[in-house]
Amino acid sequence: MSETAEATTPTLSLFEQLGGAAAVDAAVDIFYRKVLEDYRINRYFSGVDMEQQAAKQKSFLTMAFGGPNNYSGQDMRNAHARLVKMGLDDSHFDAVMENLTATLQELNVPENLIAQVDALAETTRSDVLGK
């Protein structure tokens, strides 16, 4: 591809650069496994229906990947209110963020895109923690 052609190529969205819905699927499988294996946070995921939980992770990652979503801060607050009562705090959110970054690194996502995903995921912090 010549430089001129590259310059005129319409800019791809973050979601498209990451690989779209297929990339979300690949990431969910790795991310959710990391979360369940993480002793710092896995107690918050015990006793849940795994398929339903995976669907929620997929919804969250689609949003963090800049994909089409109907993210609602209020839904996020409601869903995590019980966990906040159990002691969910910033340290646990940080642990999830760590797992997210590690997932993207494992999938060889370029660092500049990882930073964008992290920034989008970070916007959910106050809703998740009920602040």
């Binding site: 819905a21 499988d29 959710y32 496994r33 669907a55 689609t62 089409p68």
Partner: protein
């Protein structure tokens, strides 16, 4: 504009509109939630044509093969007859042709349907008594030219249907069968994939069907079956399964007893512990789990943590008193 038929109703779906919106505008009651292809609440089934590929993204491949699709992601390309997941297909009548006890409390019931039923071995079907009492049972055999179906019915202490089936149902009596449901079945197209099947009690029924389906279709990858029971009585079809291992080198069978009283040469322990604890990696495997809900939940988690992809794990929990009744 494609015409879409649901039951008695026909609607048209304008270009650029998703089917879910067209159905809702026509005041049809379609369950839905996320509208973005994630929650799968709006799953429907095409009864004739193959649905658009984009409407099947994210569904388990067994459901894709059965022409299930998501209404919120569907831009119909041609006329379709569709149905809600629990609505398609008319009920058929079947007559009992054989009763045989595989173990003290497990009845093998063979019925013959009066017309062809479309199903995969391992799916489940609702059996209905003439007074309406209904229970779900898994299908243990492959579709046969004579329309016979095999079920394994375990006698439950308070089980209204199972007690009746064991004690009163007679050869020659009739039952009503629903259409087959569920995604727990074999799928051709990946014959070398290793399969792990774990079942407790009459959870063997669907697994027995799946194994026979796989072997019948020439599956070449290893097939590992772990069947568990508390008592030796609950391990059934032991000879048949041992014989199968003699015929097919890639089939491996491990009967497991969880009670301490075990001098019969069975493996000692719970089936899913024995199957999963020493398994290094299940990456790339397909896993089938049938039987006790607690076992199914634990195994699902263990198999996933060992590397099996969630979409490759097929779970069929036998919930007593709910939908699926052993």
């Amino acid at each position: 504009m494609p015409h879409i038929t649901l039951g008695e109703t026909q609607i048209t779906c304008p270009d650029g509109e998703v089917l879910l919106d067209s159905l809702l505008k026509a005041k049809l009651h379609i369950p839905y939630s996320c509208r973005q292809g994630l929650c799968q609440a709006c799953m429907l089934r095409s009864l004739d044509v193959t649905p658009p590929a984009a409407a099947q993204i994210g569904l388990k491949d067994t459901l894709q093969r059965q022409n299930y699709f998501l209404a919120c992601r569907c831009h119909p390309e041609q006329d379709m007859h569709i149905a809600l997941p629990d609505q398609h297909g008319a009920a058929v009548t079947a007559v009992v042709i054989n009763k045989q006890w595989l173990a003290a409390d497990i009845l093998r019931l063979i019925v013959q349907a009066d017309s062809a039923l479309s199903f995969y071995a391992g799916q489940f079907i609702n059996l209905q008594r003439t007074d309406g009492l209904t229970r779900s049972y898994s299908i243990a055999n492959l579709p046969a030219p004579d329309h016979t179906l095999e079920f394994h019915i375990r006698r439950l202490p308070q089980g209204q249907f199972s007690t009746w089936a064991h004690d009163e149902l007679e050869v020659g009596d009739t039952l009503t069968l629903s259409h087959a449901q569920g995604s727990c079945h074999y799928l051709s197209g990946n014959p070398a994939q290793p399969l792990l099947l774990i079942g407790t009690g009459s959870g063997l029924a669907p697994l027995y069907g799946i194994i026979n389906d796989a072997l019948n279709q020439g599956h070449s990858g290893d097939i590992h079956l772990f069947h568990g029971s508390r008592d030796p009585d609950g391990l059934y079809l032991v000879d048949e399964l041992h014989n199968l291992t003699a015929t097919f080198a890639n089939f491996h069978y491990t009967p497991c007893l969880s009670s301490a009283d075990n001098n019969l040469g069975y493996r000692q322990g719970r089936a899913h512990d024995l199957a999963l604890t020493n398994q290094k990696s299940l990456k790339g495997w397909r896993v089938y789990l049938c039987g006790h809900p607690e076992m199914v939940r634990e195994s699902q988690r263990m198999a996933y943590l060992k590397g099996a992809s969630l979409r490759d794990i097929y779970a069929d929990a036998f919930v007593v008193g709910g939908g699926q009744m052993p």
